[in-house]
């Protein structure tokens, strides 16, 4: 029997951070981000028995060893928002909180409080790509790389430019980019993945210039994206949102979404990094 296995070179491969204490958690380099940034970054997932106060010197050594071995300049991790004990220990180990996020969900998409249609979104066209890339490269203020004061803004922007380019490439048939505005006068976009009846709203942006002079554009973008997802057969919706992004939180709230799973994202920086800001 022939078994075909699709191996992605961008799939992170997690391994124990510490061979002596595997229960602390697993760490992996993030090849997708490394390709964009030009230097390695990693993700650490806390294990069932995360390091305690007495373990911190060994934990810090393990992080430094990993960084020295792989040249990782930054290690991210995330914990539940109410796990203040874990947050405090991670801070003592050198991590800094960079983002607080929530999951917004709507289990019955057809029950969304949608206003009457005023403007229909359209699927992105090839002639939109440069406008969408320009918006992706300038519009974002949230996301863990953008809110990390030591991370270069141009690299954080480049990650979203790469993201929208990937979404527009057509490599995933479930990946859609909806556009508000006409070609040459794009106001904003929404990237949504619709799969198994669920719409995952992943990335949205309003042109920082046109958006300021187009009141209501943000609300129309989100409301019409839900309508578009419904037309694609979605029955529920989910998204992750920075808790500091109150304008969008208010939009989701008005549309009927509920919020759950508060999470804190923390970054650890290699002290000798030449790629990060002081």
């Amino acid at each position: 029997m022939l078994i075909l296995v699709r191996v992605s070179v961008f799939r992170p491969e997690y391994d124990d951070l510490s061979a002596a204490s595997p229960e602390w958690g697993k760490i992996a380099l993030l090849p997708w981000d490394e390709e964009i940034f030009g230097f390695p970054v990693a993700d650490f997932q806390l294990g069932p028995n995360p390091p305690q106060i007495q373990d911190l010197p060994s934990f810090i050594n393990a992080l430094e060893d990993f960084s020295a071995r792989t040249n990782a300049q930054l290690v991210s991790t995330h914990v539940q928002g109410d796990d203040t004990s874990a947050i405090a220990r991670l801070v003592k180990a050198g991590f800094s909180p960079v983002e607080f996020s929530l999951v917004a969900s709507l289990s019955k998409l057809q029950s969304a409080t949608l206003p009457a249609t005023r403007v229909a979104l359209r699927k992105a066209l090839p002639e939109d790509h440069s406008s969408l890339s320009a918006i992706a490269g300038t519009a974002f203020h949230f996301g863990r790389y953008h809110t990390d004061p030591q991370f270069p803004r141009e690299l954080a922007n480049a990650r979203y430019v790469h993201w929208i380019g990937n979404a527009l490439s057509g490599s995933n048939p479930d990946d859609y980019v909806f556009v508000l505005g006409q070609p040459g006068a794009v106001i904003g976009f929404m990237n949504v993945v619709v799969s198994d009846g669920r719409a995952d709203f992943r990335l949205a942006a309003i042109d920082p210039v046109r958006g300021t002079s187009s009141p209501g554009a943000g609300f129309l973008l989100y409301a019409e994206s839900i309508r578009a997802a419904l037309e694609l057969g979605a029955r529920s919706a989910i998204t992750k949102i920075a808790s500091a992004n109150t304008q969008v939180l208010n939009i989701y709230s008005m549309l009927g979404f509920r919020f759950s799973k508060p999470e804190v994202v923390l970054h650890w920086h290699a002290q000798t990094s030449l790629n990060l800001l002081a």
């Binding site: 206003p115 009141p215 554009a217 609300f219 129309l220 304008q247 208010n250 939009i251």
Partner: protein
């Protein structure tokens, strides 16, 4: 209530402003409540109060109290 007072009232009630606020100086994102969500509430209030339907382009253009006046004039509201 004349149309000018009705318009003024739409802004004050939608954005929960003090009665003596200088509405002529109001503009999009110039006050806390006038964000994307507040804007759509304002549009709904104007459409209900004046029994009109505001075009999408006018929704996106209405970035100040004075612009709201101009848009209402297009709907033959004497203001």
């Amino acid at each position: 209530m004349d149309p000018s007072d009705k318009l003024r009232s739409c802004f004050i009630e939608t954005f929960e402003l003090a009665p003596d606020v200088d509405v002529e100086a109001l503009h999009y994102q110039g006050i806390d409540g006038w964000d994307s969500v507040g804007h759509m509430k304002l549009i709904a209030a104007l459409e209900t109060t004046f029994d009109i339907i505001i075009d999408t382009q006018d929704v996106l253009d209405m970035n100040s109290f004075n612009m709201a006046k101009e848009i209402l004039r297009k709907h033959d509201v004497s203001i």
